[in-house]
Amino acid sequence: MAAETGTPTTLTLKSNDDELFSVAESAAILSVTIRNMVEDGCAGGVIPLDNVDGKTLASVITYMNGISAIPADEEKKKSYRDKFLSDKDFETLADMVLAANYLNMSCLMDAVSAKIAQVMEKKSVGWVRRKFGIENDYTPEEEAAVKEEHKWTFEGVETDDDN
């Protein structure tokens, strides 16, 4: 690892649509995937990230830089994450959860999953199916049976389907 020389090392990350990004190694290794590449000595040139597009990667790098600049204070980190995700729409959140999963970044994964859950909670079945790309493969009889089985979870629910 180049960190031995004491100077901050910069890594170059490449998105699947061929955008290049520079990021400090200290921030980038929040991703276990990248950290493993660095430790295996595969980070000399450009690190290709085949599952992340440029727009999402830019966002993830903003997060990496932001969160790694905060010292060990869980409360401040949490409020940074809340703020970071506050203006993201569902599609962006979906991209981020996939990227966090691929990059193996548990703190981002948890924050985005929680945010997706929070959005889902207030939505109708139809909205969730659309946004998750779920094909309804129940027969009407099956669907009615499932609904009957977990009747208590459908009682008194108001949904809000705005994006």
């Binding site: 929680a114 109708s124 946004k131 998750f132 309804n136 208590w152 979870t153």
Partner: protein
């Protein structure tokens, strides 16, 4: 979620064209079950069970979610979920019971969670008759335990030891204790404890146990240095006859709330016990203190006009602080009378950030010499809830004049006082040329004016 109009709505959307990113959505449905479960684990259980309606793949997905969170759900619903739940381990079991589930039933659920290696257990029931099962207090997997208004903490003694080897966070809110030694026994069985919240509401206890309970509560506040791992302490205390504390040498952060509504008894001795207790926290780096009228009231009522007598009284009251120093303290949030402020300025040489909230009316006594922290460390001061009292102006004037490295003073106050404030404070002489004073009227964020 409603299923009506589902199909027609979907057709409608499609014919209008996809305005969402179809690529990420398709990939989202390709996520492995474990990741979908991870997302579901952030939902209350009622909502995660409801996702079984989405499609075949989702039918049983919820039953592998390791967090179970019940918010005012019926007993039958909870039993059904636990019956159908398939994962061998439970990460989080959280129960808020506002519907009056059977107390024995709640005990059974706790046993179920412990048997499935629960790590975080959070109970709020507003019922004291719950028999917390013994296994809860010998659970080897528990990391975070929150008990609020439910049950009785058993005594460790003859009935067997209480041992929670992995417990890091313990929240005990409005609980009863089987014996005087229950809390000390429990704490001595938590070798990894890092965070402790104790909230004692004497007034909310049933009248029939008033006197012995107060005694137990007092004893439950004896914190000693047998807990070497303790680094964070949060304590709420209401109407406690006295507070005592041994040295907490590793304590780095503390939130202390003491409300004192004692009408009878020796106010001076009480106040001194509070002062001594806080002195015992002298190694902290970050301290939040909410002390409403703990010392000032007694002094004011005794010596309202005699300045010399007041100073003598203060010396006597703070005699326990003579030989100590809060040398690690860098951040202080204080809501108290002026005496505590004075003493902290004198004793915390490295204080950098100070937040003051309104205490009672009080007389501001200037330090004999300018405290070290004002000369070299204190860089940010926030005054919350400034009401325009004379002593508040005296404090602001003193701090602005003597804080030599101050960068920012924030003054937060009710809107109607805006004009008087601006005029008066802006004119105060400043010991630090770099110092900015920000005026923020309550409730209107970002409307700060700098001068």
């Amino acid at each position: 979620m409603e299923t009506t109009e589902e199909h027609s709505r979907r057709r409608h959307k499609r014919s209008n064209g996809e305005h969402y990113n179809a690529v990420s959505v398709d990939r989202l449905s390709d996520l492995p079950d474990s990741l979908l479960c991870h997302i579901l684990s952030f939902l209350p259980t009622r909502f995660s069970v409801r996702t079984s309606i989405l499609g075949q793949r989702w039918r049983h997905l919820w039953s592998y979610v390791t967090n179970l969170v019940f918010r005012n759900n019926s007993q039958d619903a909870i039993n059904k979920v636990l019956y159908l739940h398939k994962h061998r381990n439970i990460n989080t079991f959280s129960l808020t019971d506002g519907v009056g589930c059977n107390v024995n039933q709640i005990g059974t659920w706790i046993t179920y969670a412990v048997a499935r290696n629960v790590q975080n257990l959070d109970l709020y029931c507003c019922r004291y008759k719950i028999a917390l099962p013994r296994c809860l207090f010998t659970c080897e997997t528990l990391v975070d335990l929150k008990l609020d208004s439910c049950g009785v903490i058993p005594n460790g003694g003859a009935a067997g030891a209480l041992f929670l080897p992995r417990l890091k966070k313990l929240h005990l809110i409005r609980l009863r204790y089987e014996a005087e030694e229950s809390l000390p026994h429990l704490l001595s069985g938590c070798p990894m404890l890092e965070e402790l919240t104790v909230c004692l509401f004497v007034s909310s206890y049933p009248r029939k146990i008033s006197s012995p309970t107060i005694k137990r509560l007092a004893i439950s506040l004896h914190l000693d240095d047998r807990h070497p791992a303790l680094v964070y302490l949060k304590l709420f205390a209401f109407s406690i006859p006295y507070i005592k504390c041994g040295a907490l040498t590793d304590l780095t952060e503390a939130d202390i709330y003491i409300w004192d509504y004692i009408k009878n008894g020796d106010r001076f001795l009480y106040s001194r016990s509070v002062v001594e207790f806080i002195g015992g926290l002298h190694n902290v780096k970050c301290l939040r203190l909410e002390l409403s009228h703990c010392t000032e009231v007694c002094i004011r009522s005794l010596f309202s006009s005699l300045y010399i007598a007041l100073v003598m009284m203060v010396d006597l009251l703070y005699s326990a602080w003579r030989s100590i120093s809060f040398r690690n303290l860098t951040e202080l949030k204080l809501s108290s009378d002026c005496l505590f402020l004075l003493k902290f300025l004198e004793k915390a040489d490295n204080l950098e950030i100070l937040t003051l909230s309104q205490g009672g009316d009080a007389k501001w006594i200037q330090p004999k010499q300018v405290p070290t922290c004002l000369l070299s460390r204190l860089r940010a001061i926030k005054l919350v809830g400034v009401r325009g009292k004379e002593y508040e102006f005296a404090i602001m004037r003193y701090l602005l004049l003597n804080a030599r490295v101050l960068e920012r003073m924030e003054i937060i106050y009710p809107r109607e006082k805006i004009e008087i404030m601006l005029k008066e404070i802006s004119r105060f002489e400043r010991g630090s040329k770099a110092c900015k004073v920000a005026f923020i009227s309550k409730g209107v964020r970002g409307s700060a004016k700098l001068s």
